[in-house]
Amino acid sequence: MAMATAAVASVRLATTNALPRATQRSRDNEACSALNSAFFKNSIPSSSRSSRKNLKTLNDGSRKGICVRVKASTSDMVKEKALPADGQLISRHEGLDLYEDMILGRAFEDMCAQMYYRGKMFGFVHLYNGQEAVSTGFIKGLKKADYVCSTYRDHVHALSKGVPARQVMSELFGKATGCCRGQGGSMHMFSKEHNVLGGFAFIGEGIPVATGAAFTTKYRREVLKDDSADEVTIAFFGDGTCNNGQFFECLNMAALWKLPIVFVVENNLWAIGMSHYRATSVPEIWKKGPAFGMPGIHVDGMDVLKVREVAKEAIARARRGDGPTLVECETYRFRGHSLADPDELRKPAEKAHYAARDPIAALKNYLLENRLATEKELSAIEETINELIEDAVEFAEASPLPPHSQLLENVFADPKGFGIGPDGRYRCEGPGFTAGTAQV
């Protein structure tokens, strides 16, 4: 795929009257296809007919859709950008940086699969293969102080944010040197140092937490009068989550209070075995942004340069205090939902279609075609990453398992919460307490 021209075209982000890319994909589900075409051509739901009268001018002065026709929001940030004078969307250094991050994500996840099948890690492990462009494109645009909040598919978000691969691998092995001391596991990657707020097992759970982190930023600015507080929070979640109440409730609150947050939907079309089109009445998730008063953007999530352009705008918008953005990234996971998923429902044709749009291969081609890097340099990066991953595995293998005494640690921030025992002392003060029981 010619990434250069595609990249230029992509910066015109408003998908005004064009059919969103979703419908251009080959799909086997004829019914959904027909439904969508019909919707786009001429259906104006009656609710939005009457609500046309109530179209309000929203915060940033533009009239945003209750969708009358199939119009995405035309927000101010969406306009065609001119390429810089040298015709490059990205510098060599930036390009290599992105490439390295995506290779790290891919190699790490592949190693996870290996380790899982060798019995080094257990439980539910959800791999991110194929979606690297979203993580890299967004998180590489953040500062260290910015917050990232994710779901159970969180290994690569943690890695992109800067959590060392050693710590993530140790956590997966359940070792005491893991980022959560082995207490969280695959689905609960947290890092206070790198501001990764999780890692949540239930979908939708992390969105309010992300909203809260954004609220803290606003509170610090306006109540504590700390002008340096300009952290942006990014909440990552999937298409299945977009039918969950917490999603809508948080869109409402974020827009209401203009919180510095970006809601990133990683729409990989499948929630385990439930196709997005079978679960959702209006499959275009980006349309739900304008319903709450924020721009709704749809972007090709298999193309890291496009994602990066959108991310830059959305993050800048949040940082300057203009409020939240909803970004729907069309992406795909090359593996099953988790390592336990037989992945039988997805058609081979669909998988092949997306395999051809592998974000790493696409970036590689772009870098080579635009002579931003040589084959040798890219191979060297891959080598380095492979060594890093090997080192992470060795480190995790060699790390100790948590001792029994760790069981009761961290249940409470203040262990007085375990209460006063029959002898009149706080139970946590008794010798050998942590090797005992938690009964309260």
Partner: protein
């Protein structure tokens, strides 16, 4: 320490004899002289024993469950009562100020919000409306809309939002307009509030307070009459306290806000208008301790929240019949103060639990198990437990009265147990 002052402290800490709510105003330092004459032998014992020098152990012996150590903890004063230096005679000077329970909560809230600018309140109608039970009345004008955040009706999400804010440096207080509404926030409370400190390996703390009115009110209907303490008690990582008087409401509110743990503070709809005289000075109570309401010899009655007042009503009858029950307001629903409870059991050897929770899986059920496990040899009788009926609270008045424990039932239960 000056002897009169100690005596005032001791007697005030051991509260009044059984009185219904309206007479609680006599609780504090004023009538101590008269009370000693009527009252408990244990007070007299204190005054004789030590020559009134303060030793923590003396207080411990009476099951106060005072903090067993750490006299250097400056801020936390247990059962403190303002003792102004007396100018004239002991009798009449009323110290402290009188207020209603919801005002006491507000006072505690305001003091903490002034003390720490990261403390904020998040909930429905907490700002401009002043709270559905007026706990936050007037505070939005004082502290601003962002510190008293009026939320849309989205309990799960705004509780989650408070958790995210707590993780990133704020100290939010979530108000459930009615505790029952927090059922919608169960996902966030159980998964994130309780467990996130652990699953993050201790990296993030959640210094959040979740509070709201619960319990059976006056014909509010089934859904507004819920007791959630039994549902939340199994969630690891949460602390739960229940307030029952203006004095402990303010003290527990302040302690909960200052705690690094997530704390659920259970208030009761019918107790908001309780009036009491509380100290002018700042005081913070201990979250993990129980409160000795009335010392006694014959039986230990463990209770909390509104049932404390039903128990005290029953105690009036019991005293007139010659019984001497010891009443302990357990206050800390999770964890239980096994020290105070144990000391009492060792003294009386009989226990009656009176609670408003449902019988099945309630606080009483857990408490019975804990007492049986720890103090089996001290018991002369099976542990009695009076709980609410396992019935959705009906609207009709007489039926509603049947679902909760009433004083005559308490009297009867004590009589039965004391036959052992």
């Amino acid at each position: 320490m000056e002897s009169t002052a100690l005596l005032q402290k001791v007697t005030a800490g051991m509260a009044f004899r059984g009185t219904p709510a309206s007479l609680l105003s006599s609780s504090s330092a004023s009538s101590h002289v008269a009370r000693i004459k009527l009252g408990s032998r244990s007070v007299i014992r204190v005054s004789r024993l030590s020559g009134l020098t303060v030793k923590a152990t003396h207080l411990n012996a009476y099951g106060f469950g005072t903090m067993p150590h750490n006299s250097t903890a400056l801020k936390t004063v247990n059962k403190a009562v303002a003792v102004k230096t007396e100018t004239g005679s002991t009798a009449t000077a009323q110290q402290g100020h009188e207020l209603l329970l919801f005002e006491a909560l507000r006072e505690g809230l305001e003091e903490e919000m002034e003390r720490d600018p990261t403390v904020c309140v998040i909930g429905e109608d907490v700002g401009h409306y002043g709270g559905s039970y007026k706990v936050t009345k007037g505070m939005a004008e004082k502290f601003g809309d962002l510190r008293l955040l009026d939320t849309p009706i989205a309990e799960n999400s705004f509780t989650g939002m408070a958790i995210g804010a707590a993780m990133t440096g704020l100290r939010p207080i979530v108000e459930g307009m009615n505790m029952g509404f927090l059922l919608l926030a169960f996902n966030q409370i159980a998964n994130n509030c309780g467990m996130l400190h652990y699953t993050s390996g201790g990296q993030f703390t959640i210094p959040i307070v979740i509070r709201g009115p619960g319990g059976v009110g006056k014909q509010l209907g089934a859904e507004h009459s819920q007791r959630l303490e039994s549902y939340f008690q199994s969630v690891p990582g949460l602390q739960m306290v229940a307030c029952s008087t203006p004095y402990n409401a303010k003290g527990l509110m302040k302690a909960a806000i200052r705690s690094e743990n997530p704390v659920i503070l259970f208030e009761h709809v019918l107790l908001y208008n309780l009036k009491e005289r509380i100290p002018d000075e700042e005081y913070v109570l201990c979250l993990e301790e129980a409160e000795l309401v009335r010392p006694g010899q014959d039986i230990t009655i463990l209770t909390y929240s509104r049932m404390r007042h039903h128990v005290l009503q029953a105690v009036k009858t019991l005293v007139s019949k010659g019984y001497d029950p010891e009443v302990i307001d357990i206050r800390s629903l999770k964890p239980f103060d096994l020290f105070a409870i144990g000391n009492s059991v060792k003294k009386t050897h009989k226990v009656l639990i009176v609670e408003e929770c449902m019988r099945t899986g309630g606080i009483g059920a857990s408490l019975r198990a804990a007492i049986m496990e720890n103090f089996f040899d001290e018991l002369d009788a099976p542990i009695g437990c009076l709980s609410s009926q396992d019935v959705p609270t009906p609207y009709a008045g007489p039926l509603e009265d049947l679902t909760v424990v009433q004083p005559p039932q308490i009297v009867f239960a004590v009589e039965q147990l004391c036959k052992h």
